[in-house]
């Protein structure tokens, strides 16, 4: 039993374990959380066994707790001013770097997605979409401000302009359906806009989310800018919307009860809730500068014109 599990785990890592019939024992990956640029286990010590379609256990997955979420918020808050202050050019290069890293590890992601139940074609599409989406948003990093800002022709003798600024901390529940493309589509517009993010991975594709954290980790993204948790929506969703230091929350599912509860909780500190449940994440309709703008505030500054 133990041997089977190790073999499958090796398959996840190499993608071609079936041909590898030597007596070498594979090295299993421990899937942990990604908080503050580190890979800790959940403080709760809990895990679930992730099984493939045939019921074979593939890996252990951390079941994150409320405390893990709260620690992620602390990390995100700490990282936010620095990330927001990074130049648009710099942010764009880092998001582009994420795309490069993902492209470089595409075989691994395809294999891992297949182990989580996707066909080879579906897995390829998922990875292609994710890479392209990152490139798309990387390009927006130094453009959305220009498109959505304004110099306002006020009637008095003042110079007056309005600029988008990041909202701050975004807590997102990633789409269940698209473990990689969906995850990336939620993270990228938030991050390129200078926000920091806590994201709850798809329960169907937790392994991909944590492997994606490795991609983030090797892309010069500062610690705490993206924090990824695995666990259950049932347990964690309410924390995403009721934490008082979160500025915006995203729910990419369609459960009406969950949406209502998130909106009610959002009112605790007037956070901005967004529902992306109807999105087809593999379509180009899923990408838009308006997704960046959902997570921006507009600041207007006045200064007298005179002596």
């Amino acid at each position: 039993m133990a041997t089977t599990k190790q073999n499958v785990a090796r398959n996840v890592t190499t993608g071609n374990g079936a041909e590898n019939s030597s007596s070498r024992i594979g090295v299993m990956k421990t899937y942990k959380l990604y908080i503050d640029g580190k890979f800790p286990r959940t403080e709760s010590g809990r895990y679930s066994i992730f099984t493939d379609a045939k019921g074979h256990s593939i890996a252990n997955v951390c079941v994150a707790s409320r405390k893990d979420f709260r620690e992620s918020v602390v990390a995100a808050r700490k990282a936010q001013p620095g990330w927001a202050a990074a130049s648009a050019y710099n942010k764009g290069q880092i998001v582009y770097r994420i795309a490069e890293m993902l492209e470089g590890r595409r075989d691994q992601f395809v294999a891992e997605l297949m182990h989580q139940g996707l066909s080879s074609a579906a897995a390829e599409l998922e990875v292609n979409t994710a890479v392209d989406r990152l490139v798309y948003y990387a390009g927006w990093s130094d453009k959305y401000q220009q498109v959505f800002s304004a110099v306002n022709p006020v009637a008095s003798s003042h110079f007056n302009f309005s600029l988008p600024e990041p909202m701050g901390i975004v807590a997102a529940i990633a789409p269940e359906s698209n473990g990689l493309a969906g995850l990336v589509s939620v993270i990228a517009p938030a991050v390129v806009g200078g926000n920091t993010v806590i994201v709850l991975a798809s329960e169907k594709f937790p392994l991909t989310a944590i492997t994606f954290a490795e991609v983030l980790h090797t892309s010069d993204l500062p610690a705490g800018v993206v924090n990824i948790l695995t666990g259950t929506q049932k347990e964690l969703a309410s924390y995403f919307s009721n934490h008082m230091d979160v500025n915006a929350c995203i729910y990419a599912g369609t459960n009406q009860v969950a949406m209502k509860s998130m909106e009610e909780n959002a009112a605790l500190n007037v956070k901005r809730p967004y529902f992306y449940g109807k999105t087809n994440w593999l379509s180009e309709d899923a990408q838009s500068p308006y997704r960046i703008m959902d997570l921006q505030e507009t600041k207007t500054t006045w200064h007298p014109i005179g002596q």
């Binding site: 022709p153 006020v154 009637a155 007037v270 507009t298 207007t300 006045w302």
Partner: protein
């Protein structure tokens, strides 16, 4: 002479100088004894059968009876708005829609004098402000948004936006006519129809606006103005026929509305409370800064969500600023809102006056040192002298909570980092001020203040082209300017 320093030149206005009364005439004002609801283009008696009084806060005398809209009246108003949305207004070509909005702007300008006087009588604000700010800005808002009606795709790059439907709009008592304009003008320009409720203490200018809308001959039901208190507002928020709520008011009520809208799919924008930091650096032009402080907190009796109610002064100039500020406060005239010399009018209602007095007590009990100017105030009516508190801390309730009155707290600071930290350490994020002659310092501070409107070397300036709205618990969305159209449009 009150001055402590012999070197200080100080005008003593109570010594040999006095202002003769200079009241604005109200002979031309025709108020009805009783005002009805404006629904489907007509003034109709409320189904509820109920009326309430609106009083002049400067005299405590009743001005008129105002209809109180019940649930049935709300329903009639929403139905009328829906009928126009699916009918005349909804089908009208955009450029024609724009012409109607221009008409409203023009009639507002024509009737400016009447509106300004009524605004001051009903709400207590100085005639100088209603005449020079509220009414002209209200007209300017309609004029600005009128022109957007047939240019909407330019506001939403890459999209073909459409209207949303029926907007339910609930406005506060501090800028009654101006807030009605902020709400109605962009909603109409974007092609929506409106049910608007003014605050119960200041219904009159909204009802005058209803007359103007009737005179402008808008299709019946395009704008419905119904009066009442919180229950009427709740009726609008809960009505299933409303597609979008726009609310301006307290954060407390805003949170209730946001929660109440959960699961309904209705869109909303919220303009809520504030507690702005007004920051004076040692290299600021101090006399100008003092004027800015006064304008920041005493404008409109401090009944301003973006009021500069938390003053931060760099330690090296603290004494000078406080001395000059106190001197300046002594020259402020509190009294008859209709007098053209009045700086600070009447507090809007007895309820609000009690709330302010409560905060003054809290401030003193928490160890703050209170200073009020010595000016005389009338015996009748609701009044509060300009007030400042020193010896307060970041955790004082009068520093953390919105008072909505002419009450300023003063704290000192040494470094930029310290003052930014203090300024942002609050749940609100509506506005802020910074005073310095150094350009790079202005941009550092304006960049780092977490607030939606920042005034640098000025304060409390407003314009229809300039977006207004808050971060954090100060609200959701923007009003004014191109950005103020977005909440009334939808796109893919």
């Amino acid at each position: 002479m009150k001055s402590k320093k012999k070197s200080t030149v100080q005008l003593t206005f109570n010594d040999g100088w006095s202002y003769d009364p200079a009241p604005e005439s109200k002979d031309h004002i025709r108020l009805k004894e009783q005002y009805e609801l404006f629904i489907d283009g007509k003034f109709v008696r409320p189904e509820s059968g109920k009326y309430f009084d609106t009083v002049n806060p400067a005299t405590e005398k009743k001005l008129a009876s105002i209809a109180e809209a019940g649930d049935k009246d709300v329903d009639l108003a929403v139905r009328a708005a829906r009928k126009s949305y699916t009918g005349a207004w909804g089908k009208m070509p955009a450029k024609e829609r724009g012409k109607y909005i221009y008409r409203i702007a023009r009639i507002l300008q024509e009737r400016a004098r009447e509106l300004a006087v009524i605004e001051s009588m009903d709400g207590g604000k100085p005639i100088r402000e209603s005449r020079d700010i509220d009414v002209p800005l209200a007209a300017a808002h309609f004029f600005y948004y009128a022109g957007w009606a047939d240019k909407l795709p330019y506001a939403v790059p890459g999209q073909l936006p459409t209207s949303i439907g029926v907007a339910g709009q609930i406005i506060p008592w501090n800028f009654p006519l101006l807030m009605a304009a902020w709400k109605i003008a962009p909603a109409l320009a974007a092609g929506n129809t409106v049910v608007l409720k003014p605050a119960e203490t200041t219904s009159l200018t909204a009802l005058k606006l209803a007359e103007i809308i009737q005179e402008a001959d808008l299709p019946p039901g395009t704008v419905n103005i119904i009066t009442g208190a919180g229950a009427t507002g709740a009726g609008i928020v809960q009505h299933a026929g409303i597609d979008k709520i726009a609310f301006t008011g307290s954060t407390e009520v805003g949170k209730l509305i946001q929660k109440g809208l959960a699961g309904t799919g209705k869109r909303y924008t919220l303009e809520l409370g504030g507690k702005a930091a007004n920051i004076i650096f040692e290299d600021a032009a101090i006399d100008q800064a003092v004027e800015g402080i006064v304008n920041g907190i005493f404008f409109n009796q401090g009944h301003v969500c973006c009021a500069g109610s938390r003053l931060f002064v760099q330690e090296s100039v603290m004494k000078t600023v406080v001395r000059k500020l106190k001197d300046r406060m002594e020259t402020l005239i509190v009294g008859d809102p209709l007098d053209k010399n009045t700086d600070i009018g009447a507090i809007n209602s007895r309820m609000q006056l009690n709330k302010i007095k409560q905060y003054l007590k809290i401030g003193v009990n928490e160890g703050g040192t209170m200073y009020q100017s010595a000016c005389a105030v009338p015996t009748k009516g609701f009044w509060c002298r300009p007030t400042l508190f020193t010896d307060v801390s970041q955790s004082s309730r009068i520093v953390q909570e919105e008072i909505f009155g002419p009450v300023l707290t003063i704290q000192s600071f040494r470094t930029i980092e310290e003052v930014i930290e203090k300024a942002n350490n609050i749940p609100y994020g509506l506005s802020g001020g910074v005073w310095t002659d150094k350009g790079s310092k202005i941009f550092k501070v304006t960049n780092q203040l977490r607030a939606g409107v920042i005034w640098a070397n000025t304060y409390n300036k407003f314009d229809p082209t300039s977006p207004f709205g808050g971060y954090k618990e100060s609200g959701v969305g923007r009003e004014g300017g191109l950005h103020g159209l977005m909440p009334y449009l939808q796109h893919a």
